[in-house]
């Protein structure tokens, strides 16, 4: 008679948990990603040493991404530009703190997140201190490109329509996952949250956003009846 080896329940649980954890780990970086990471690390070390051209290259590489992330923290593209500028000011100072073992993209995301949150807090304080809502000057940015202006107005309208009532965290997670295409594990890695919390926030955000979409659709109410 063959005797089955005894596996303690706790050991079994641990091995299962390890399998689940491994499944939720981010995918291994590709060769192109590793190359990009090496270039980033080199540029960052040169920029930290005071090389202005390396810093300019870094800004050129990351400005669109930083601006895109800032859009989700801001209420309009002009505010996003301010946040992006602030991010690069901070990066210029703290680039020496960047450790090349991590992704520079994730580092820039963390800087953007912190800068946006601080600017939001400052703006709130300023709004509270202002005598009246009219005391705040209206944002008027001169844009020579009419098409660009239309795009920016459209983006502002969309942000207000979709995300105005959403808490900042849900807004951020919905954008990263549903609009930018990141996985919950990647988002968890970037934001420092647990994947389960990311999924819970995503669930709430989707429900809130889609409920607003669906409420405007005539077929939806009929189907609900």
């Amino acid at each position: 008679m063959q005797v089955q080896p005894y596996i303690p329940a706790m050991k079994l649980f641990r091995s299962r948990k390890r399998r689940i954890d491994e499944a939720s780990l981010p995918a291994r970086p590709t060769l192109a990603q590793r190359e990009a990471h090496a270039i980033d690390a080199q540029l960052a070390s040169r920029a930290a040493a005071g090389d202005d051209s390396a810093f300019t290259t870094l800004v050129t590489r990351y400005q669109p991404a930083v601006f895109r992330w800032s859009l989700m923290f801001a209420n309009d593209p002009d505010e996003a530009e301010d946040i992006a500028q602030e991010v690069f000011v901070r990066a210029h100072r703290r680039l020496s703190q960047y450790r090349s073992d991590g992704s520079l993209e994730a580092w820039f995301y963390a800087v953007t997140r912190r800068a946006a949150n601080q600017m939001r807090r400052k703006a709130k304080r300023r709004t509270r201190l202002a005598l009246s809502p009219g005391a705040r000057p209206a944002r008027e940015v001169y844009t020579t490109d009419p098409g660009g202006r239309v795009d920016r107005e459209r983006a502002t309208a969309l942000i207000h329509e979709m995300f105005s009532n959403l808490p900042p965290r849900q807004r951020e997670i919905f954008d990263l996952i549903d609009l930018q295409g990141l996985t919950p594990v990647e988002v968890a890695d970037r934001t420092g949250m647990k994947p389960a919390s990311v999924r819970a926030n995503l669930f709430k955000a989707r429900k809130s956003i889609r409920a607003r979409f669906l409420a405007t659709h005539p077929s939806y109410s009929e189907l609900r009846k």
Binding site: V59, G148, L179, H217
Partner: protein, 249 residues
């Protein structure tokens, strides 16, 4: 899948993960109403993603990099200036406190063993009933202010000296006066007894006098003997009559 289930799934599920063989898409292939709603949601999210992802930053990267460098430099200098200002401010505060504030507080008696604060008065209160120690026990809780105190005279004089604010002095005075006036105070017991005894004696004398006055006095008709008006007394009355002038007819 029913329309209800399809709409519930549509509220929370990822549209990107919905493949052609998913239940929602298969239901939408047969239900035109659900298909319309699903398409609307998908289009809205796609449009939003397209608009936001394709919006380029307006600023030139060169300008951004240059501005970042200049702003960072300015902030560094600003940080140094702020730090130096803070140190200078701390030094100024230290000097001012060492030369003006601390001596002032010392003079006012708030800190150290300097002179007592002004506004305190000293008063000696005479005691007729209470002992100085009793008086001290009574006023002690009320004389607790900064610099306030009391002194018990060692020479045995029945008095207590109180030092305190006018309010504390008034309170002590009132309290002592109240206890001094109390007729049940220990020092007044003998006096009270004496007074009671004297009152009782007075009352007894009064009662005796009243009884004597109320008893019937012996009149001239009742007197058996000559009495005070019998012999000598009558002659005295007669003498009065003799001297009375007679009426002329």
């Amino acid at each position: 899948m029913t329309c209800e289930e399809c709409l519930s799934a549509l509220e929370t599920e990822s549209l990107r993960e919905m493949t052609a063989d998913s239940a929602v898409i298969q239901h939408c292939a047969t239900c035109p109403d659900c298909a319309r709603v699903t398409t609307m949601v998908r289009d809205k999210e796609y449009e939003t993603a397209t608009v936001l992802n394709s919006l380029p930053p307006m600023s030139d990267p060169l300008t951004v990099a240059e501005t970042a460098g200049v702003t960072d430099q300015r902030r560094r200098v600003g940080g140094v200036v702020v730090t130096l200002s803070a140190i200078a401010g701390a030094i100024v505060i230290w000097i001012v406190s060492a030369t003006m504030v601390v001596p002032g507080l010392y003079r006012a008696g708030v800190i150290g063993n300097g002179p007592r604060p002004t506004g305190l008065r000293t008063e000696t209160m005479q005691l007729s009933c209470l002992s100085p120690q009793q008086a001290a026990d009574i006023i002690n809780p009320y004389v607790q202010g900064q610099g306030s105190t009391y002194f018990i005279l060692r020479s045995g004089i029945p008095a207590i000296t109180v030092r305190g604010t006018p309010g504390e002095l008034a309170k002590s005075r009132d309290l002592l006066a109240k206890f001094e006036r109390d007729p049940n105070a220990a020092c007044r017991v003998a006096e009270t007894r004496l007074r009671t005894t004297m009152k009782a004696v007075d009352r007894a004398f009064e009662d005796a006098n009243r009884d004597r006055d109320a008893a019937p006095s012996p009149g001239p008709q009742n007197l058996k003997g000559p009495g005070l008006l019998g012999s000598g007394g009558a002659s005295l009355l007669n003498a009065d009559k003799a001297t009375t002038p007679t009426k002329k007819k």
